[in-house]
C-alpha cells in the first residue's frame, strides 16, 4: 500500500542497473497505477478530515463569540433574543424539541421500516417485492418541503382524530393530553419525520437482510423452524448491527430536518407539558426561521451557529453511541461465519 514501508522480501538483490523486464525484485518502484490510486485514496481521506475540522473550527469560533456575549444561560434559558442588547438566548427548548420529535419519529419508523424490509426480503413473492421496494425508494425522492406542505395542509387537520383517541386513553400520562387547537405540535412533527426517515431505514435494513447467510437460514429451517423462527434465529441476529446503523442514519436525518419541521410546527420558546400541544422548536427549524431576522450587526447569526454546534455534537454523540453498540457484540456478529 504505502511505498515507504519496506516490502517484506527476501534479502535485497544486488542493485540492478536497470529494471529489466524479467526482474521481479523492483519492489521499491511500485507501478504508476498503484501510486495514483494510493494517492487518490489518501487524498480523499485527508480532504474529508480537513473539511470536518474546518466545519468544527468555524462552528466553535463563531459560537464562542456568541456565548461570551450571552446574558442568559445557554443551556437553560427559555428564550431566543439574540438580536437584543444585551442578547439573551438558550437552547433548552430547541434541544428538547429536537430530541423529542426525533425519538417519536424513531419509535414509529424503526419497527415499520424493519417490517417493510423483512417483508420485501423474506416474505413477499418476487413479483410484489420489486415494485414495493421501488415505492419505498420513491418516498425518499420526495423533497422535504413537499413533505412539509403535505404535513401542514393534510396531516395537521386530519391527525386530530388520532389526538382525540390518544387523549381518551392516554391523557392520564400527562404528556399525551389533547387540549384542542391545531395539531402543529412536536408529535405531528414526529409522525412526519417518521414517514421521511422510513425509506432510508427500510432500505438499509433490506440490503442487510438480503445478505443474511443462506447457510444459517437453512440451518434454522432444517431444525424445523417456521419462517418467523428462521427470521428470529438467523436473519435478525445477523442484521442487528445493520438495524442499528440504519436507525442512526434515520435519526441523523430526523435531528437535522429543517423545512418540513419549520412548515408544520407552530414555534414557541416554551416546553409544553403535552406533546400534543402546539409549540416548541428544533435546532434546525429555529435556524431556518430566525436566520433572516438575525442582524449581521449583533450576534444573532453567531447565536444560531452556536445552536448548530450543539446539534453537530448531539449527532456526533448519537453516531458514537451506535458504533459502541455495534462493537460490543462483535464476537457474535455474523462476520466470521
Amino acid at each position: 500500500m504505502s511505498t515507504d514501508t519496506a516490502p517484506a522480501s527476501p534479502p535485497p538483490p544486488p542493485p540492478s542497473p536497470s529494471k529489466s523486464a524479467g526482474s521481479i525484485s523492483s519492489g521499491q518502484d511500485t507501478r504508476p497505477g498503484d501510486r495514483v490510486f494510493a494517492g487518490l485514496a489518501r487524498g480523499s481521506g485527508i480532504i474529508l478530515l480537513v473539511v470536518m475540522a474546518a466545519i468544527a473550527a468555524f462552528l466553535a469560533w463563531q459560537a464562542t463569540t456568541a456565548l461570551t456575549e450571552n446574558e442568559g444561560n445557554f443551556l437553560t434559558t427559555f428564550e431566543w433574543d439574540a438580536n437584543a442588547d444585551p442578547p439573551v438566548f438558550g437552547i433548552a427548548v430547541l434541544a428538547f424539541g429536537t430530541i423529542v420529535s426525533s425519538v417519536i419519529a424513531m419509535v414509529i419508523a424503526v419497527p415499520i421500516a424493519v417490517g417493510i424490509a423483512l417483508f420485501i426480503s423474506h416474505y413477499a413473492p418476487r413479483k410484489l417485492a420489486a415494485p414495493l421496494a421501488w415505492a419505498v425508494d420513491l418516498l425518499a425522492a420526495v423533497p422535504s418541503i413537499v413533505y412539509g406542505l403535505w404535513g401542514a395542509l393534510f396531516l395537521v387537520p386530519h391527525v386530530t382524530g388520532l389526538y382525540e383517541w390518544m387523549d381518551d386513553y392516554f391523557a392520564w400520562t400527562g404528556i399525551l393530553e389533547y387540549n384542542g387547537g391545531a395539531a402543529r405540535s412536536l408529535f405531528t412533527v414526529g409522525i412526519l419525520l417518521a414517514i421521511m426517515i422510513l425509506p432510508i431505514v427500510s432500505n438499509v435494513c433490506r440490503e442487510v437482510f438480503k445478505q443474511s447467510p443462506k447457510m444459517q437460514e437453512e440451518a434454522a429451517l432444517a431444525l424445523g423452524a417456521t419462517r418467523w423462527e428462521v427470521i428470529k434465529m438467523s436473519v435478525l441476529p445477523f442484521g442487528r448491527s445493520g438495524i442499528i446503523s440504519a436507525s442512526m442514519l434515520g435519526l441523523g436525518r430526523a435531528l437535522g430536518e429543517t423545512m418540513a419541521v419549520a412548515t408544520v410546527l407552530s414555534p414557541s420558546f416554551l416546553i409544553e407539558p403535552s406533546l400534543l400541544d402546539p409549540g416548541g422548536g428544533t435546532f434546525a427549524q429555529n435556524i431556518a426561521a430566525s436566520f433572516k431576522e438575525a442582524s449581521a450587526a449583533g450576534i444573532g447569526r453567531e447565536a444560531l451557529i452556536a445552536s448548530g454546534l450543539v446539534l453537530f455534537v448531539i449527532t456526533l454523540l448519537v453516531n458514537g453511541l451506535a458504533r459502541l453498540i455495534i462493537a460490543r457484540r462483535k464476537e457474535y456478529s455474523g462476520a466470521n461465519a
Partner: protein, 258 residues
C-alpha cells in the same frame, strides 16, 4: 427412534428443469446409506427432498412419494416444518448460528419445540454434545460463541444440534468436504456410533468414505449435463465396491468415467 424411508417415483424440479428423475429406493433404519455420484447428478437435491428442504429453493418442486414408516411426507396436510423436526440435517459447510453460544446452538432445536426448562435443556445439551464427541472439548466454554470453534468442532456442534431433537433420520450432505483429514476421521467415527440410534443418509464425494462408513451405497449418475440425475443402482456397500451390477458404477468407482 429410527424409521425406515421408502421412496417411490420421486422427481424433483427447479422451475421447469428436472434435476432428478423417477427415483425409487428404500433406506433401512439404524444403518448408514451413502449416496455417491459425480457433481450435478442430483444426489444433494435428492437428499433435500427427504426432509422437504428442496421446496424452500425458489422454484423447487417435487413429485412422487417419500414414506417415513408408511407416512407420506408429501401427503396433503403434512406440515413441512414438522417433517424437518423429525428428520435432521447436517450441511456441507459447518453452519452454527454465529450469534448464539455453543449451548444455545445445541438447545436451538429444543427451544423451537417449546422445551424451555433449564434443567431439561442442560441434560440434553450435555448428552448431545457427548453424542457428537464434542463435550470434553467445549464443556468449559459452553457460553462462548460457536463460531469460535475450529471447522471440525463446528461440524460436530452442528451434529450435536441436529441430534439434540432426537430425529428419526439424520441426513448429512457432504459433511466432511470442508474439513481436514483428522476432523473427517472424527466425523466418520461419530457416524459409526450414531447409526445404532439413527437412520443415517450421507452424501459424499469421497468414495473411500462411503466404503468406510456406509452399509448401503446408492450410485447416481446423469447421462449428460442438463439431463436429470438418475439412480443407477443401490446395494450393500461391499458389493457396490467389489462387484457392482452396472458397468457405469464400476467405471465410476474405479475412476474410469466420461
Amino acid at each position: 427412534m429410527a424409521k425406515r424411508i421408502d421412496i417411490s417415483g420421486l422427481s424433483a424440479y427447479y422451475g421447469s428443469h428436472r434435476a432428478i428423475d423417477d427415483i425409487s429406493m428404500s433406506v433401512e433404519p439404524r444403518s448408514v446409506t451413502a449416496f455417491i455420484g459425480p457433481s450435478g447428478c442430483g444426489k444433494s437435491t435428492f437428499l433435500r427432498t427427504l426432509n422437504r428442504m428442496h421446496e424452500v429453493t425458489p422454484g423447487g418442486r417435487v413429485e412422487g412419494k417419500v414414506l417415513l414408516d408408511n407416512e407420506d411426507l408429501y401427503g396433503s396436510g403434512v406440515d413441512p416444518v414438522s417433517v424437518r423436526r423429525t428428520i435432521g440435517m447436517v450441511f456441507q459447510r459447518p453452519n452454527p448460528f454465529p450469534t448464539m453460544s455453543i449451548y444455545d446452538n445445541v438447545a436451538a432445536g429444543l427451544r423451537l419445540n417449546g422445551k424451555y426448562k433449564k434443567s431439561d435443556l442442560d441434560g440434553v445439551v450435555e448428552k448431545s454434545l457427548k453424542g457428537a464427541n464434542l463435550w470434553n472439548e467445549v464443556k468449559d466454554r459452553l457460553n462462548k460463541p460457536g463460531s469460535g470453534l475450529s471447522g471440525g468442532q463446528q461440524q460436530r456442534l452442528c451434529i450435536a444440534r441436529a441430534i439434540a431433537v432426537e430425529p428419526q433420520v439424520l441426513l448429512m450432505d457432504e459433511p466432511c468436504s470442508a474439513l481436514d483429514p483428522i476432523s473427517t476421521l472424527a466425523i466418520e467415527d461419530l457416524v459409526g456410533e450414531l447409526k445404532s440410534q439413527f437412520t443415517i443418509v450421507i452424501v459424499t464425494h469421497n468414495m473411500q468414505q462411503a466404503a468406510r462408513v456406509s452399509d448401503r451405497t446408492a450410485f447416481f449418475n446423469l447421462s449428460a449435463v442438463g439431463q436429470p440425475g438418475k439412480l443407477i443402482e443401490i446395494d450393500d456397500t461391499e458389493r457396490i465396491f467389489s462387484n457392482p451390477t452396472v458397468q457405469a458404477t464400476e467405471d465410476y468407482i474405479s475412476g474410469r468415467f466420461g
